[in-house]
């Protein structure tokens, strides 16, 4: 399963970056969501997929006896999912607002911070 999942993650990365290289904000947002999935799966795979038993200690024991899946990447990914979601929500609202103000979703036309025609800065003191 590790191998198959690695392949799937690679596809996720490809699609995410393909969408991110688009000029349309909405497609870039879709790319961001997929990218966070890809990263989460990478961390998850890095912790190795040896068993499918969840990392829980049986109720009558104090230490797990049977092998359980690696809890550490799960803890890391759990917070990553929530952070990625907040980040995505922020980006979404930001582009929504940019659209309201600039009336475009084409990044080529969003040039408030870096205008196209900019002369030489003043040369004096």
């Amino acid at each position: 399963m590790e191998l198959a999942l690695t392949f799937a993650t690679a596809v996720l990365y490809s699609i995410a970056f393909y969408l991110l290289m688009s000029k349309h904000i909405i497609r870039m947002l879709l790319g961001v969501v997929i990218l966070s999935n890809a990263v989460n799966l990478s961390i998850f795979i890095n912790g190795r997929l040896t068993t499918i038993a969840p990392p829980l200690i049986p109720s009558d024991l104090s230490v797990p006896v049977d092998p359980i899946s690696n809890p550490l990447p799960q803890a890391l990914v759990l917070t990553a999912i929530v952070i990625a979601f907040s980040f995505f929500a922020f980006l979404l609202v930001l582009s929504y607002r940019a659209y309201q103000d600039l009336n475009t979703d084409d990044t080529d036309e969003m040039r408030v911070a870096e205008p196209k025609e900019e002369g030489l800065p003043p040369l004096g003191y």
């Binding site: 909405i26 795979i45 829980l56 979703d105």
Partner: protein, 788 residues
């Protein structure tokens, strides 16, 4: 650190802190007391001066005071200080002259709108300068060094509504701040190559630096710092341009402090870096050129403040030249001249300010006959000028005698330097009397109306300095014992006893002094003609380092504009593509470079049917996102790939992750739907094929890179120490059986705390964004109403 010894070390921090405290209080006091606040503010440097004065006797006996604490132990950096003969005299000059200057500034800046911040800048500069001369640790010294550059920038550009002041300030900052960075490189080189991290260590290291294979590099870097700060040709341009500052600044920065920092560094390093062929070649060469050119330009200037500025350049050249000679008498001459110069130059600058104040001009051609109206200023001026001209009984005379003693050897090397010294001194003699005598004698030109003496604070400072120049020479025994001998000993590295007195002996040095004076008198008489002669030859050359600086700065702006145009095109897809290319290059390139490609895996056989279904679902969702032709399809297919990911988590023994992912996907789809239905956006791809293909290629490469990377990682042995730890102790010490949750809320709870903080901040930012829209559109409506 050594144990605290004596009064000075106990109050060392106090003395250093006083100017800074006063700087903070200055605006407040000035708001209440107007310019009278300087009477109180001057107490800070005065108290520091008295604290340092307590240490004079001990230091004269050879004690070295050291105090401080470890600052960044991991880099072996300390916040430490050292008080020996050299730093003590400097500390006394900085605080003593500083006291007079603060008082003078109070008189000079009276009624100025921003005088409060002016006093703040002055006191900040004073604190920085004080820290610089008493610092022991090299990094501490560098920090104070750059602080003087920054505070002098504020002072020179104080009158920031004038372009010339701004230019002077920027020029000073670029040259001295840049030199400071060169010094930092030198300091790091010393620390790296020799392991010496403080001045004390350097001074005790004997020949360690001289024998280092990196000696030449270290020396040149240190000189880069010293020469820029001490205005050696061709870095001298900032000094005359800094005359745009109010006169108290010039009187302070260009007499005893800022410009002397470089000379201080050279004297400081002399025992460890000096006395080599390289040292004895570079320093006299730069010094001699600076001395002669500076003195010529001084006579050429018609503004008395500019004249003084160029004599400062010349004096710095003289000092560097003498330090370069490296002999005992030369170092003695340099220390004597340094003290004398601090006194008479500060005095003369203050006189120039008084003249400007009283007669409203500084042009030498339009000044004259002020002596009757400004007798006290005249007295101060003539005393300082006599010291500067090297007339007995003034400390300037002691210095000049000692300098000529140092050079009276019949070798070509000494004779060449001696000629430069005589020429420079004669020109400076003339300049001294152009400033100190000419405005006060002769007929009063028509342009000057109601010349008047300034207040007590205006004439007090220069008069004290002029009188002290004479008193110190008369009581030369005490002066040498307490101040100049310990200073020269520290700079020479061995105990030195100075015995030169004010009573001239008939010898070669005195003859040379007389020759200098005669030449000087001659030059003074022909000075108007000399001035126009130099001016016309300078016009013939037509280019100087000053114009070069402007060309350099303009070139820099043009260059950075071009580079910015290339690097920051302003197009997001360019940035994105660049990032992707960099990621691919970094990942595939490093794998290729290290030869760390994964082995080709066998086709997996242990995948269950339901796992194939889930993976298939994921890929179908992904594909649908890419080809989606409308918003709803895109959102739904995004949801499909998200739920597929959640299912993968569930099947691989991560129920917590699966539930979280389910909830997040639900919410993502909800808010996407909420926003996207309001936008008339097309999610379909409008890229033409010629853009799609390279983008797709890059995307495939990225996927390949990450895939190979993951394969490589998975094929390596796994270190599960940490996971084992959590499994073993989750219940034992944290009483929890869901290990993931225990890690989140117990073992790594501080991370989780940070994370919920981030979530909260994001939420606030989103709310703000939503609200701003209302305000923004409201404004737009108002604007469109106004336009119609």
């Amino acid at each position: 650190m050594d144990e605290l010894t004596g009064f000075v070390t106990e109050f060392g921090y106090v003395a250093l802190g006083l100017p800074f405290v006063a700087a903070v209080l200055a605006p407040l006091l000035t708001r209440v007391l107007k310019s009278h606040s300087t009477w109180i503010l001057a107490l800070a440097p005065l108290a520091a001066f008295l604290i340092f004065l307590q240490g004079v006797f001990e230091v004269a006996d050879g004690t070295v005071h050291r105090w401080g604490f470890s600052w960044i132990p991991s880099f072996d950096i300390a916040f430490s200080f050292r008080l020996d003969g050299l730093s003590l005299v400097f500390a006394l000059l900085v605080t003593g002259i500083g006291t007079l200057i603060i008082l003078y500034a109070g008189g000079y800046m009276k009624g100025h709108r921003d005088q409060g911040s002016f006093y703040t800048f002055m006191l900040l500069f004073m604190g920085a300068m004080l820290g610089l001369v008493i610092a022991d640790d090299l990094i501490t010294m560098f920090i104070f060094w750059e602080l003087t550059s920054i505070t002098s920038f504020l002072l020179i550009g104080f009158d920031h509504t004038r372009e010339k002041a701004r230019r002077g300030a920027i020029q000073a900052l670029v040259i001295t701040g840049g030199g400071g960075l060169i010094l930092l490189a030198g300091v790091i080189a010393i620390r790296e190559f020799t392991g010496l991290n403080s001045l004390t260590a350097i001074l005790e290291s004997g020949d360690a630096l001289r024998d280092s294979p990196y000696y030449a590099m270290i020396l040149i870097l240190i000189l880069g710092g010293a020469f820029t700060k001490s205005a050696q040709m061709p870095f001298h341009v900032w000094l005359p341009n800094a005359m745009e500052a109010p006169t108290p600044v010039s009187a302070y920065l260009h007499s005893a402090t800022m410009v002397k920092a470089g000379v201080y560094l050279l004297l400081r390093m002399h025992p460890a870096l000096g006395d080599t062929t390289l040292w004895m070649t570079i320093l006299p060469a730069f010094g001699a050129v600076t001395l002669v050119v500076g003195a010529l330009l001084a006579v050429r200037a018609s503004d008395i403040k500019i004249t003084l500025a160029y004599t400062t350049v010349a004096s710095l050249g003289l000092l560097v030249m003498l330090i370069g000679v490296s002999s005992e008498t030369a170092i003695v001459g340099a220390t004597l001249y340094l003290i004398a110069h601090a006194f008479f130059k500060a005095g003369l600058f203050m006189v120039a300010g008084s003249v400007d104040h009283g007669a409203h001009t500084r042009e030498i051609d339009r000044l004259g006959g002020l002596g009757r109206h400004m007798p006290l200023t005249f007295l101060a001026a003539i005393l300082c000028a006599l010291s500067m001209g090297g007339v007995t009984p003034f400390i300037g005379f002691l210095a000049k005698e000692e300098i000529y003693h140092a050079l009276e050897y019949p070798t070509a090397y000494h004779i060449a330097i001696l000629v430069a010294a005589i020429a420079g001194n004669a020109l400076m003699f003339a300049a001294a009397f152009i400033v100190g005598l000419q405005p006060f004698v002769g007929p009063k030109p028509a342009g000057i109306e109601h010349p008047h003496e300034g207040g007590l604070r205006i004439w007090f400072g220069p008069l004290v300095l002029g009188v002290m120049s004479c008193v110190a020479a008369l009581y030369y025994g005490l002066y040498h014992e307490l101040f100049s001998s310990p200073m020269a000993s520290a700079a020479y590295g061995e105990p030195v006893a100075i015995d030169i007195g004010w009573i001239p002996h008939l010898n070669l040095a005195f003859a040379l002094s007389c020759l200098t004076a005669l030449l000087g008198i001659g030059l003074y008489i022909v000075s108007p003609r000399l001035r126009s002669g130099i001016a016309s030859s300078l016009d013939a050359i037509g280019w100087g380092p000053d114009r070069g600086f402007d060309q350099l700065m303009r070139g820099l702006v043009r260059f950075s504009f071009k580079v910015t145009g290339i690097v920051q095109s302003g197009r997001l897809d360019y940035y994105m593509t660049t990032t992707v290319v960099a990621v691919v290059a970094a990942m595939l390139g490093s794998m290729w470079w290290a030869g760390a490609f994964p082995t080709v895996p066998a086709y997996p056989t242990n995948i269950h049917f339901h796992e194939y279904i889930v993976l298939g679902l994921l890929l179908v969702g992904l594909g649908a996102v890419v080809v989606a032709k409308n918003r709803l399809t895109a959102i739904v297919s995004l949801g499909i790939q998200g739920f597929a990911t959640a299912l993968i988590f569930l099947l691989q023994g991560a129920p917590d992750l699966a539930y979280t992912q389910f909830m997040v996907e639900t919410l993502s789809v909800v808010i996407l739907a909420l926003v996207m239905t309001k936008l008339k956006l097309s999610p379909s791809d409008h890229r033409p094929l010629r853009e799609k293909l390279p983008d797709a290629t890059l995307a495939v490469l990225v996927g390949l890179a990450f895939g190979l990377f993951l394969l490589t990682v998975v094929q390596r042995p796994f270190d599960d120490t940490l996971s084992q730890f959590f499994e073993r102790y989750s219940y034992a010490i944290a009483h929890g059986k869901n290990i993931v949750n225990v890690i989140l809320v117990d073992f790594r709870s501080i991370d989780t705390m940070g994370e919920i903080g981030v979530v909260m901040v994001t939420g606030l930012a989103i709310l703000a964004l939503i609200r701003i829209r209302i305000a923004g559109s409201g404004r737009r409506e108002v604007k469109s109403l106004e336009q119609s």
